[in-house]
């Protein structure tokens, strides 16, 4: 178990800056998830923490100690790879024991610890097999076993579930959460799947183009996104964005658009002004069909996605904006129908032309 601090961490490949001056601290025993679109530098950052990639500038500390130039073993990290990377010429047992053997541990110790890890992951029956004789899920378990057996200070995962089929991914996700609770180690997990991030993380770090867009608990990111990128990235289906213009009034500002007749907001913070064009963000789950909600407008239904318990209605507004709304009612709208959708202004989030969040008073 350990804390991790990144202080102005940078990575350059030649002239290309892949990670740009990044600060972050990871608490002891926490589960931190890096999310972001492909190519944003998640893996690069994780590999710098692991000691597989040189750090161009900045300082990396584990338990307060500078570790920029330490080997992975000195750092006390272990890592699970997307491709498992099990050694094909070794049995499962030898794969798991390899790191301990490299540490020069006595045989009995190794045996005991391998058995314990196998027990935790329920792979005891597979110890004599070769990796090629395992299913994808079993391989991933062995890869995790190889990581936990070393009892590292820091666990690193680089998209460990992305090669598994959907069902197995959900099972393994739950097991990873259990494993974290069970061994209580500090874990850092990379994914581009926001569902994995929301379900696993104590803290989510949203990355874009090598910089942190926002870091916080899943609920902070969901409820209080710092910008339109985070708002759009966290939550599924994606948040709807509707352009609105502001007009000044005595009480504050009035928003209007092709869809919205008039909506008053009370600014809470800088950045607001009259005659601005903003984006109003509202999540599909907060844009309900046919509900008697304070702000309403009509949409033409294009497609309905029925998920059983809930359904998402994909439609377009009178001005041609595509929106996604939700309905839990049993009466399912059909393509071509015109339905009324509505939301509570408390649920709306506002972003300026640069995507920066403009905060407003939630309770009038």
């Amino acid at each position: 178990m350990a804390t991790l601090e990144l202080d102005g961490i940078k990575k350059k490949y030649g002239e290309l800056e892949v990670v740009e001056g990044l600060d972050l601290s990871v608490e002891e025993g926490s589960f931190t998830v890096f999310v972001g679109p492909s190519g944003c530098g998640k893996s690069t950052l994780l590999r710098m923490i692991a000691g597989l990639e040189e750090i161009t500038a900045g300082e990396l500390r584990i338990d307060g100690e500078r570790m920029n130039d330490a080997t992975p073993v000195e750092r006390g990290v272990s890592m699970v790879f997307q491709n498992y990377a099990l050694y094909p010429h070794m049995s499962v047992e030898k794969n798991i024991a390899f790191g301990l053997k490299m540490l020069g541990l006595p045989r009995d110790d190794i045996k005991r610890r391998v058995a314990a890890a196998a027990e935790t992951l329920q792979i005891g029956a597979l110890l004599k097999r070769r990796p090629s004789q395992l299913s994808g899920g079993q391989r991933q378990r062995v890869a995790i076993g190889r990581a936990i057996v070393r009892e590292p200070r820091l666990f690193l995962f680089d998209e460990p579930l992305s090669n598994l089929d959907a069902e197995l991914r959900v099972t393994m996700r739950v097991e990873l959460a259990k494993l974290h609770r069970q061994i209580g180690a500090t874990m850092i997990y990379v994914t581009h799947d926001q569902t994995e991030a929301l379900t696993l993380a104590d803290k989510i770090v949203v990355l874009r183009d090598g910089a942190i867009e926002q870091a916080g608990t899943p609920m902070e990111l969901y409820l209080d996104p710092a910008n339109a990128f985070v708002a759009g990235f966290i939550g599924s289906p994606q948040m709807n964005f509707l352009p609105v213009t502001t007009t000044g009034t005595d009480a504050g500002l009035r928003l209007s658009s092709a869809e919205l007749y008039a909506l008053n907001v009370v600014p809470d913070g800088a950045g607001w002004g009259a005659d601005m064009t903003l984006d109003l963000g509202i999540r599909p789950e907060h844009l309900q069909v046919g509900e008697d909600l304070p702000v309403r407008f009509d949409i033409n239904v294009d497609v309905v996605e029925n998920l059983g318990g809930t359904r998402y209605v994909y439609g377009s507004t009178a001005s041609g904006k595509s929106v996604i709304a939700e309905t839990r009612a049993d009466a399912i709208p059909r393509a071509g129908d015109k339905v009324t959708v509505g939301f509570d202004p408390v649920r709306a989030r506002y972003f300026n032309a640069n995507g920066q969040r403009l905060r407003h008073k939630l309770a009038a």
């Binding site: 692991a50 272990s78 491709n83 498992y84 990377a85 050694y87 094909p88 790191g99």
Partner: protein, 289 residues
């Protein structure tokens, strides 16, 4: 009705398939016989007294068991010396090319450094020069190095052929092994050389073995340089030894062919070995593709 017709077709198809099979085997047998004929004849001649060699009609086997060719070869210390030279040369060349070649290939495969592409290209181009054009320059260099008529002169010469080959082959094999293995092993506490010896080479074992076999055979079969760069009888190798039997000892076909059979045995054994080992798929399963 339809059923009966179906059965009929199946029987017909079965017959056709059987026919095709037989034809394939006949073709294979003919080709094998043609290709194996020189070898069969070599073995046959080695088992006959010289007087029977060209007897008509030709006979595959002698009238009675005849192993004089072999016993005379084994009793002659000179031939034992040729065999010893060839084995020594082959083993030294193989070990050196593998040791140096694997390390060089590891560098080419895993690291970027100044001039790496040019260096690799240079290694490849060395393989394109016909070796006979190098005979005279090599002779000069070897004499200048005072290695003429020594086993080390031949080792050095053969290395210039075998080493680039080993580098290219091993580089190819290492390139097929994903970097994830290197990284997993690094995380597990391996140094760069630890990664090579504990993970990459075991995974690339089939490649290592076929490269070893090839370099050994390259040295074992080489004739031209062995002839040109040695002078004394003690320094001769098996191929040169066989050629010497034509002039110096008259034409003792039985001895010559017996020695040829003995000289071919390593080739045969090694090829059988490679066949068993060059089953790819050893690396399958560690990485999700």
């Amino acid at each position: 009705m339809t059923n009966a017709q179906n059965t009929h077709t199946t029987v017909n198809e079965e017959r056709q398939r059987l026919f095709r099979r037989v034809m394939v085997y006949v073709a294979l047998t003919v080709v094998t016989l043609i290709m194996a004929f020189p070898i069969i004849w070599m073995v046959s001649v080695s088992l006959k007294p010289t007087v029977e060699t060209f007897s008509l009609p030709p006979r595959l086997l002698p009238n009675s068991l005849y192993l004089d060719g072999y016993t005379r070869i084994f009793e002659n210390p000179q031939f034992r010396r040729f065999l010893l030279n060839s084995y020594l040369l082959g083993i030294v060349v193989t070990i050196l090319s593998l040791a140096i070649g694997t390390l060089a290939a590891f560098g080419f495969s895993r690291y970027r450094f100044f001039g790496d592409k040019a260096a690799k290209l240079f290694v490849i181009t060395t393989q394109m020069v016909p070796s006979i054009t190098l005979l005279i320059p090599f002779f000069g260099v070897i004499v200048w190095l005072r290695l003429y008529d020594t086993i080390w002169g031949l080792v050095l010469t053969y290395l210039t052929f075998a080493l680039p080959y080993a580098v290219i082959m091993m580089n190819g094999y290492l390139d097929t092994i994903p970097r994830d293995f290197d990284e997993a092993a690094t995380i597990d506490g391996c140094s760069p050389l630890g990664v090579l010896f504990r993970v990459l080479l075991p995974v690339a074992a089939p490649g290592l073995i076929s490269t070893a076999v090839y370099t050994f055979l390259l040295s074992w079969n080489e004739f031209l340089f062995a002839l040109a760069l040695t002078r004394s009888v003690e320094m001769r190798t098996v191929p040169v030894g066989i050629s010497m039997m034509v002039g110096e000892f008259g034409l003792k076909w039985d001895e010559m062919m017996a020695f040829s059979v003995i000289g071919s045995l390593p080739v045969l054994v090694l090829f059988m070995l490679v066949q068993r080992f060059v089953v790819s798929g050893l690396s399958a399963g560690g990485i999700k593709g």
